[in-house]
């Protein structure tokens, strides 16, 4: 059933995203032509349109993520979704996975658009050269470049998931109030961020600096990097887990569709 839910979720978001992606890529290609021909005024207009579309893609990715969860689950459409013979977990996961995929695709399309406008043959050669150089210096310092690369991707995906789940939890917490749910969700977002910062602050102060220094000094450079990446990932995992549980509990016990 998760697959079927995701199919409709892809469709619902795709009908907004795909035309926008198309417009961005076409505008970038036309702008590339203006730049190549060095038409001053069209070049300026083209660049303005392309950059506005890039901003639009990013804003739409964020707003759609919020809106799909709110409108499809907590507004009237919720009557349909919550009476389907599917688990509530499947409802949340279908939204989460599809939103994450569209965000990643949005990022790729934006990079592609920039490449279309600005890239030359040299750009790719020099980019590959710098990447090679980067990995070479990493391995010289005793790091496995591939390992670090994979870890960074995992960290980014973990951050994306826990970020989306933060939004879901804020929206789900708005079930506590009958009216002004959007405002309340926004307030929750601020409160959660303050709480998160406070926890990190308390952790930072309560750590015994001497033993930490001793611990870090005993590690190799590789070990230090691994520890930092590992702790960041653990933090994302815990935060994401908490927000998921909050979302699920709210949907189970506090669901009250208008």
């Amino acid at each position: 059933m998760l697959g079927k839910l995701m199919k409709y979720e892809f469709k619902a978001m795709g009908r907004i995203f795909l035309p926008l992606f198309g417009a961005l890529l076409v505008a970038s290609a036309i702008n590339r032509l203006f730049i190549a021909l060095d038409f001053t005024i069209p070049k300026v207009i083209g660049t303005t349109i392309s950059s506005s579309l890039i901003v639009a893609v990013i804003v739409v990715a964020l707003i759609l993520t919020i809106q799909r969860f709110y409108r499809n689950l907590l507004s009237r459409e919720g009557y349909l979704m919550f009476t389907l013979p599917v688990r509530t977990d499947s409802l949340v996961w279908s939204k989460l996975l599809v939103a994450a995929v569209w965000m990643i695709v949005s990022l790729i399309v934006v990079m592609l658009a920039i490449a279309i406008m600005a890239a030359t043959g040299d750009t790719f050669t020099s980019m590959m050269a710098s990447l090679k150089e980067f990995f070479r210096s990493l391995s010289q310092a005793g790091f496995s470049g591939i390992l670090i690369g994979i870890e960074c991707v995992l960290l980014a995906i973990g951050g994306l998931f826990s970020g989306i789940l933060t939004l879901y939890a804020c929206i789900a917490l708005s079930l506590f109030v009958g009216k002004h749910r959007v405002g309340f969700a926004f307030l929750m977002f601020i409160v959660i961020n303050i709480i998160g910062q406070t926890i990190l602050g308390i952790l930072a102060v309560s750590v015994d600096l001497d033993s930490l220094t001793a611990l870090v000094d005993n590690m190799s450079g590789f070990g230090q990097v691994q520890t930092v990446l590992g702790l960041c990932f653990l933090f994302e995992l815990i935060a994401g887990g908490i927000f998921y549980v909050v979302t699920r509990l709210m949907l189970k016990y506090k669901l009250n569709l208008e």
């Binding site: 409709y8 009557y79 349909l80 009476t83 389907l84 669901l255």
Partner: protein
């Protein structure tokens, strides 16, 4: 055997009691009117049956199970609101229902759409409120469910469509299934009902068969309703 049972069912919103100690049992093969004025708890009861709300106290079972995936497979629910996404076409929602409900019959839905002159290619956004309600009722009645829970199914449509809808309900449900219709438009639906449940301020004040009301009290359901709920 009862398809739906609840005992001591209570739902409160803060200090406000929406349902108070409701005990009911609905047999298979009956058409039941869930009757009461606005705010009497009809919608709350139906939402509880569909797992859209969690009871404050008491138990509720459908086909022997508490609301969950199993009960959602056998319950066909029509909420009082329009719940379809505006950007979808009528054909999209047919696909959606046949994807998720094994008991959904596409030919049956198509036949009803044709009878009510609703095109499959129409976008829901372009349909009037009444037509949207008809589409929803068609979707709900095109399932071969064991329990139909219809919340105000005739509230928003014209009297001619009302007749078609009521006939559709009687014609389409199988004799093993039960239909619960919540409404305050009693005169319109009285002729199709087997039993009635009167709800007042979240409490059940009467459960009876329609025949008993007519024979023992010598009045119509509509007349009895006006008497019980006299303001």
């Amino acid at each position: 055997m009862a398809i739906f049972e609840c005992s001591g069912l209570t739902k409160t919103y803060g200090a406000k009691k929406a349902l108070s100690n409701v005990n009911l049992s609905v047999e298979k093969g009956r058409i039941i009117g869930l009757l009461g004025p606005n705010g009497s708890g009809k919608s709350t009861l139906l939402k509880l049956c569909n797992g859209l709300l969690t009871p404050t106290a008491g138990t509720l079972t459908i086909g022997g199970s508490a609301p969950g995936i199993q009960t959602k497979q056998i319950v066909s629910y029509l909420p009082e609101h329009t719940y379809l996404a505006d950007w979808m076409k009528v054909s999209d929602v047919l696909n959606f229902f046949s994807d998720f409900y094994k008991d959904f019959s596409v030919p049956k839905a198509e036949e009803m759409l044709t009878n009510l002159k609703i095109g499959k290619t129409e976008q829901l956004k372009t349909l009037s409120k009444g037509t949207k309600e008809k589409v929803q009722l068609i979707l709900v009645m095109a399932r071969q469910a064991q329990l139909y829970l219809l919340d105000e199914p005739i509230g928003g449509v014209d009297p001619a469509a009302r007749d078609y809808i009521l006939n559709t309900i009687i014609k389409n449900y199988n004799p093993e299934a039960s239909v619960v219709i919540s409404t305050h438009l009693i005169a319109d639906i009285e002729r199709v009902l087997d039993d009635v449940i009167f709800l007042k301020d979240g409490e059940v004040v009467l459960t009876s068969s329609v025949d008993d009301i007519r024979e023992e009290k010598g009045v119509s359901v509509d007349a009895l309703f006006r008497e019980v709920f006299k303001c």
